[in-house]
């Protein structure tokens, strides 16, 4: 077996051991009543609760509502941030105009603006989607700008001497060269969007995973609160994994064969 196999085996085993220990701890606790078992459900209790929610039909609705918000917000944020970031990284004058404004807004935690967004846009989807768009904008914009700014001038000279015009240089050199940085921005933006999504749903929503946690609290359904958190974790992990695979695929030129085997 190769070393890669053993690494994966160990990582998987680590998760399984954690779940088993949790399950065992819950079973022992249920017998000896050391802590109130209602407050500390076991992994199997969570599976049962998730199954009930799925049968009731609320689980898929929650996941769908949450993902719709995060993807719409993330999409809007990326569509605004990437072109603006490219232009800002490329034109120094524009950078001097845009940069101070971005730096003024960036330190504000997006959640501080949530009440404002609700007053402006109501309690519906728009306030949450735009808040997610707002928060994803910054990491994507900043990483895109940085990626464009750090282009090696020798690549621009090479492209010029080979007869490329401005738009050809943009598509063949600038975007390509900045892509690793842009993808990092997308990953950070997505993680932040998820964070803001759940917080917004806890405060102001009538569907979604964050809303379900809040609602379960009201009915003292602790196992369902755990289910909500666990599903958010799994979704976040899955999308981060998918973005990393996409990164590997798009950026094969960055790793050498030797590194890829290591």
């Amino acid at each position: 077996m190769n070393p890669k196999f053993w690494r994966h085996a160990l990582r998987t085993a680590s998760v399984l051991v954690f779940l088993l220990a949790w399950q065992a701890g819950s079973v022992l606790n249920a017998r000896y009543q050391y802590l109130n078992p209602i407050l500390f459900p076991s992994p199997l209790d969570m599976v049962r609760a998730a199954y009930d929610e799925a049968v009731q039909g609320i689980l898929w609705g929650d996941i769908g509502a949450s993902l719709a918000r995060v993807f719409q917000g993330f999409g809007i944020g990326a569509v605004v941030a990437i072109p603006l970031g490219c232009a800002t990284g490329y034109f120094r004058r524009l950078e001097d105009c845009v940069d101070p404004i971005v730096e003024l807004f960036r330190p504000i935690p997006p959640l501080a603006l949530l009440p404002l967004f609700i007053i402006w846009l109501g309690i519906g989807e728009m306030s949450k989607v735009l808040l997610i768009a707002f928060s994803t904008f910054f990491p994507i914009f900043l990483n895109t700008t940085e990626g464009v700014r750090s282009i090696d001038p020798i690549h621009l000279r090479a492209a010029l001497s080979l007869g490329a015009n401005r738009s050809q240089i943009f598509t063949n050199v600038i975007i390509r060269s900045a892509l690793p940085s842009i993808i990092v921005g997308l990953r950070l933006g997505f993680a932040l969007g998820f964070f803001v999504l759940v917080a917004a749903e806890l405060i102001a929503a009538d569907s979604g995973l964050g809303y379900r946690i809040q609602e379960s609290r009201n009915f003292f359904l602790v196992d369902r609160m755990f289910v909500g958190a666990a599903i958010i974790g799994v979704l976040g992990f899955s999308f981060n994994y998918a973005l990393r695979r996409l990164e590997d695929l798009l950026l094969r030129w960055r790793t050498t064969i030797v590194q890829a085997q290591a």
């Binding site: 020798i154 001497s161 080979l162 401005r166």
Partner: protein, 271 residues
């Protein structure tokens, strides 16, 4: 006039933005190169030889004077001048064949024809087997060969080479010099080659242009009528080398306080 390239009275002054004294990099530089000729520019570090190459390439505008390529004045960079840089400058996100076909692709040549051109020049530099590799997977010498193929794929009138083998180890460098001589013989291209190595200039050039320390002027132009393939132990080679060493020694002493050249590092580039 049978000249492929004429550099007429070129002068270049850099005026630093931070208020330091202006820097005269080149002073009254005149040079004419015939079609198919291989000319080396030899000079100490910081003498302005890279600046001259960047002016001919169109990356820098001369303060005075003009550059005429095949009867037409140079006003910017263009596909009629192929440039090979000191660092390979390949596009790392493109595979080897995509790098080589870059010029024809920008000119709108169709994909089949582009692939044919890329294959032809990759075969010329002996890297046909590596067409699908990424630049990262190649050694330094191989990268420079791809860079030469990429410059040639546009069928330029002149090849401008800025110390292209400077970062290679001695043995690879020697191989590349032989390789370049073969490529030059096979294609008949006019080549302007910048170097600070006396041996390199004598192994390659028909004529060696010796520059003074800053501000860079032509000190002397030395024909190198040696038979090819050249040997660095042949008596006539050794004699010319001694002559060049004598010429350069004064300049290196004179240029001891020279600041690093600004010719290679333009910082943020405006297009």
């Amino acid at each position: 006039m049978g000249y492929e390239l004429q550099v007429i009275g070129v002068r270049k002054v850099f005026r630093p933005e931070d208020g330091r004294a202006p820097l005269v990099a080149l002073e009254r530089f005149d040079l004419a190169i015939e079609k198919g000729e291989f000319v080396c520019i030899l000079g100490p570090s910081g003498c302005g030889k890279s600046t001259l190459l960047n002016i001919v390439a169109g990356f820098l505008v001369p303060t005075e004077g003009q550059v005429i390529l095949d009867g037409v004045e140079v006003t910017g960079s263009g596909r009629d001048r192929g440039v090979v840089f000191q660092e390979h400058a390949l596009f790392p996100w493109f595979r080897v064949w995509q790098n080589v076909e870059f010029g024809p692709k920008m000119a709108g040549v169709n994909p089949a024809e582009r692939a044919r051109i890329a294959d032809r020049y990759l075969d010329l530099v002996g890297l046909g087997a590596f067409r699908a590799a990424f630049p990262k997977e190649l050694s330094g010498g191989m990268k420079q060969r791809v860079a030469i193929a990429r410059a040639l794929a546009n069928d330029p009138k002149i090849l401008l080479m800025d110390e292209p083998f400077g970062s290679l180890d001695a043995q690879t460098r020697r191989l590349m010099q032989d390789e370049l001589t073969k490529i030059w013989t096979a294609t008949g291209k006019t080549i302007l080659f910048v170097t600070h190595s006396i041996e390199e200039s004598l192994l390659l050039a028909d004529r060696v242009v010796v520059m003074t320390a800053r501000p860079g002027r032509i000190k002397t132009v030395l024909p190198a009528p040696l038979t090819r393939p050249r040997s660095d132990v042949a008596p006539d080679f050794v004699a010319l080398k001694a002559e060049l060493q004598g010429l350069l020694k004064d300049e290196i002493e004179a240029g001891g306080e020279a600041r690093p050249t600004t010719g290679n590092n333009p910082g943020r580039q405006t297009l």
